[in-house]
Amino acid sequence: MLLIAPVTIDICTILGIDPRPYLIGEVILSNIGGTATLIGDPPNIIIGSDIEEVGFVDFIINIAPCIVVFCIPISLAIVSKVFVVNSDAEQPLELDRTRLTSLYPIYDEPRLLIAGIVASFVIMTFFFHPIHHKDSAWISLLGAFLTITFTHPHDVQTSLRNHVEWDTLLFFAGLFVLVAVVDAMGLLTFIGEVLVGIIESEPEEYQQVSAISLIIWVSAITSGFLDNIPFTTTMIPVIKILAEELPNTLHIKTLAWSLSFGACLGGNMTLLGASANIVTAGIASSKGYQISHYNFFVPGSLISLVTIAISHLYMLIVFTMA
C-alpha cells in the first residue's frame, strides 16, 4: 500500500481528479485480498504460526475460493456504487505523448539508483518471508538507513523530517498502549469467556453453527473497532479451549477459518480496523487529501458487513453440510 498509494495519487493528479475514492477502494480490497493467504494479513500470520494444524495450503484451499469468487467482485461493485456518478460513455482521452513525458522526467537519477536498488531488495526479502521467517522490520530498517547513508551521508534530519509521518507512528504507539491497557483490564478475556459460555450452553447439534456464527461476527465487530492483532492473539487460546472441550462437534480448523474471516474482513469496517487503513490515510493527508472517518466508514462498513455475511454463509454451507 505504501508503494501503490503515491502512484495512485499521481495518476489522479495528472487526470485532475480526486484520488481519495481510489485510495479507499484500494485499501479495502487489499484487506480483502490479504485474507486469502497465510501471509496476507497480520491475523492470518498469527493464526498460522500459533495453530499447528493450519498450513499455507489449507488457507488457499479453504479461504481463497470464497474470497476470490464472491467477496472481491461484490466489494468491487459496492465501492463503485458508493462513489458512483454516472457510467455510460467511454471516450478515449487524447494524450500528448511528448509533452507528458517531458513534463514528468526522472529528475534525480543517482538517487533513484540507490533507492530503487534498496526498495527492490527489501520487497524481494518480503516475498521470501515464508522461507526465512525473519521479522520484516529488520530488512526495512536496514534498507532505510542504508538509503540515507548513500543519499545524504551527512544529513539525517532532512529525510527524517520529510519522509516519516510521525503522527501515524505515534498514533499506532498510542493505540497499542491503549489496547494493552484494555487487555490488562480484562475486556478481551471477558469477550472470550462470554463466547465460550454461550457456545457450551447450546445443544450439541447446533454447537458448530453457533460457534462459527459467533466467532465470525464477534471477531469482526471487535476487530473493526480495535486493532485486530491483539484480538487475534486473545482469541486463539479461546478457540483452542473450545476445540479441546467439545471435540465431537468442533474442529479447530473450522474455528480458525471463522476467526480469520472475522478478524481480517472486520478490519475494513472503520479507518481504525487495520493498519493499512491508517497508513494510507496518513499518506493521503501528507499529500493534502484528508480522508475523513466518514469517507471510509460508509463503503468500508458496508463492504465488511456484506463480505462477512458471504463468508458466514460459505462457512455454514461448506462445513456444516459436509
Binding site: S87, F121, A137, H163
Partner: protein, 453 residues
C-alpha cells in the same frame, strides 16, 4: 477561460482572490534575510522572474545558477499545481505558449468554507496543500517545451553507477544473509525468560504464611484480587514424552484458602503449551470472605498431575481497588469515547490516541491503588516491529518519491493505456487488483473534463 482555471468541483467550494506576482519571488524563501549574499541572490532571483514576465512570446530564460538546486522542488510542485488548477487538464489542446501570462501570474489563495459538515461519504474535505510546499505558480518557462533541456535534472554518471553497484553488493550480502541464515527465536536459550519460581504441586503453609498471605496490609471488602501466572509452556520433566495437545489441556488449578482451612475460591489458569504465557484471574472479595484482613494461602497444582505432567510457573498477586469491579464496563466505555472522538474528528487522531492511552493508564493505576509502572515498561506494549517496518518503508518510499519515479510510472501507465480508459483500468488492475473498482469514477471524471473543454 475561467472555467478551466477552477479546480475540480469535487474538491469543494473554493474562494479565490488575485494577487500580484511580485510576491512570488520574495516569499518563496520564507527564511529571514540574513547575509548580504542571500540578499543578492534574492534580487537575482526576482530579476529572473521579471525577465520571464517580460518575454511574453514564450521564450525560455535560464534561471540564475544559484537557484538550480531549489528549482527541482519548485518545478515538481509547479507541475502538480497546474494540474490542481485544471490548467494542464487539456494537455492536447493547448500548447504551453498559448497560455497567457496573465493567467499564470494570478495567484490563488484558497480559503475553504467549512460551513456545514456534509455527511455524504463521497464529499471529501477540500484539497489542502501541505504546509511546507511552495504552492504557487513559478514561471512560464517551466511548462515550456524546453523543460528537459534545463540542467537541473540530475543524470547518473559513472560514479553513481559505481556507488549503486557497491550498494547492490551490500544489499545482496544483507538479503542473502537474511534469507540464508537459519536463526531461531528463543526455543533453545541458556536461561529462560523467567526463572523457575515454583513448580506444581505447591501448597502454601498457613502457619508460616509462606506463600501468598494477603501481604502485610490486608485487603478489604470489595477489593478485587488479580492473580496472574506466567506458565512455562514446556513441561518440567523432560524424561516424560509429553504430547502437545496434552500440554494444551493442562491447566494450573489454584485454590484460595483462608486461615481456617476452607477453600474460598478455586479457579484455573491456562492452558499451558500455547503461545500465550501470561494468564490472570480476577477475584472479587465479597461476603464469602468472612475476614478479608486475615491471611490467605494459595495452593497450586497441575490439573493433569495424575498423568505426571507438572508445570513450572511464576505467580503474582495484586490487590486492586473496588473500582476494578467495573473494569470491563470502564474499558469498553473508554474505547467508545476514544472511538467517537476519532470518528468525529474533534481532535487529530494521534492526539486522541495518546490522550486516550494516558487516561486509560490513569484509570488502570487508580484500579491498582496507585501502583504505577515505569514508562519503559509501558513501552514494551508497543509493537515495535510493526512501527519499525512502517518507519523504514516510509523513508525508502520518501526517498523514491524525491526522484520522480512515481510520476514517471504514472505517466507511463497513462501512455500505455493510450488514452483509453478501459486499457488504463486493465493496466491499473495489473498493478493492484483493487483498481478495478474505480472504473466508473474514472469515466465520470473524464466526462467532467470533457464538459469543461
Amino acid at each position: 477561460m475561467k472555467a478551466d482555471i477552477s479546480p475540480p468541483e469535487m474538491m469543494g467550494s473554493v474562494m479565490r482572490r488575485k494577487k500580484q506576482n511580485s510576491v512570488a519571488s520574495g516569499s518563496l524563501f520564507h527564511d529571514q534575510p540574513t547575509s548580504p549574499l542571500q540578499q543578492i541572490e534574492r534580487e537575482k532571483f526576482s530579476s529572473g522572474v521579471k525577465t520571464v514576465v517580460e518575454s511574453e512570446n514564450g521564450l525560455t530564460i535560464r534561471q540564475p545558477t544559484s537557484l538550480r538546486k531549489s528549482s527541482i522542488v519548485i518545478r515538481k510542485q509547479l507541475s502538480l499545481d497546474l494540474h490542481n488548477h485544471g490548467l494542464i487538464n487539456d494537455l492536447s489542446q493547448r500548447r504551453a505558449s498559448d497560455i497567457k501570462l496573465s493567467e499564470i501570474n494570478e495567484e490563488y489563495i484558497e480559503t475553504t468554507h467549512y460551513t456545514k459538515k456534509s455527511w455524504d461519504p463521497t464529499v471529501f474535505t477540500p484539497y489542502k496543500a501541505p504546509r511546507d510546499s511552495i504552492h504557487r505558480f513559478f514561471s512560464p518557462d517551466d511548462i515550456s517545451e524546453n523543460k528537459t533541456k534545463l540542467d537541473d535534472i540530475r543524470i547518473a554518471c559513472k560514479r553513481d553507477y559505481v556507488i549503486a553497484f557497491i550498494l547492490f553488493c551490500i544489499m545482496t550480502i544483507i538479503c542473502g544473509t537474511m534469507i540464508g541464515w537459519k536463526t531461531h527465536v528463543g526455543d533453545d536459550v541458556l536461561f529462560g525468560h523467567v526463572g523457575l519460581a515454583c513448580r506444581t504441586p505447591c501448597f502454601g503453609d498457613i502457619k508460616s504464611r509462606d506463600f501468598f498471605n494477603g501481604r502485610s496490609h490486608s485487603f478489604s471488602r470489595n477489593d478485587v484480587l488479580k492473580i496472574g501466572a506466567y506458565i512455562d509452556p514446556l513441561a518440567i520433566d523432560k524424561d516424560i514424552e509429553v504430547e502437545l495437545n496434552e500440554m494444551t489441556s493442562t491447566f494450573l488449578d489454584i485454590d484460595l484458602v483462608s486461615t481456617d482451612g476452607t477453600v474460598k475460591r478455586s479457579f484455573q489458569l491456562g492452558p499451558a503449551g500455547s503461545t500465550r504465557m501470561f494468564f490472570s484471574e480476577f477475584i472479587q472479595v465479597d461476603t464469602t470472605f468472612e475476614s478479608p484482613q486475615d491471611s490467605h494461602v494459595l495452593n497450586v497444582k497441575s490439573s493433569n498431575s495424575e498423568n505426571g505432567i507438572h508445570l513450572s510457573f511464576t505467580l503474582y498477586g495484586e490487590d486492586l481497588s473496588p473500582l476494578a469491579n467495573h473494569r470491563v464496563i470502564i474499558s469498553a466505555l473508554m474505547l467508545c469515547v476514544v472511538y467517537v472522538l476519532i470518528a468525529t474528528e474533534v481532535l487529530h487522531r494521534t492526539l486522541v490516541a495518546i490522550f486516550g492511552s494516558l487516561f486509560s493508564l490513569f484509570l488502570y493505576y487508580l484500579m491498582n491503588k496507585g501502583r504505577t509502572e515505569e514508562l519503559g515498561e509501558i513501552m514494551l506494549h508497543v509493537e515495535w516491529s510493526t512501527l519499525a517496518l512502517i518507519f523504514g518503508l516510509m523513508i525508502i518510499v520518501g526517498e523514491l518519491s524525491q526522484t520522480g519515479i512515481f510520476e514517471w510510472s504514472a505517466v507511463r501507465l497513462l501512455l500505455l493505456s493510450k488514452g483509453s480508459c478501459n486499457r488504463l483500468m486493465v493496466l491499473l488492475c495489473c498493478l493492484t487488483v483493487s483498481f478495478h473498482l474505480s472504473r466508473i469514477q474514472c469515466f465520470s471524471s473524464l466526462q467532467h473534463y470533457a464538459t469543461n473543454k
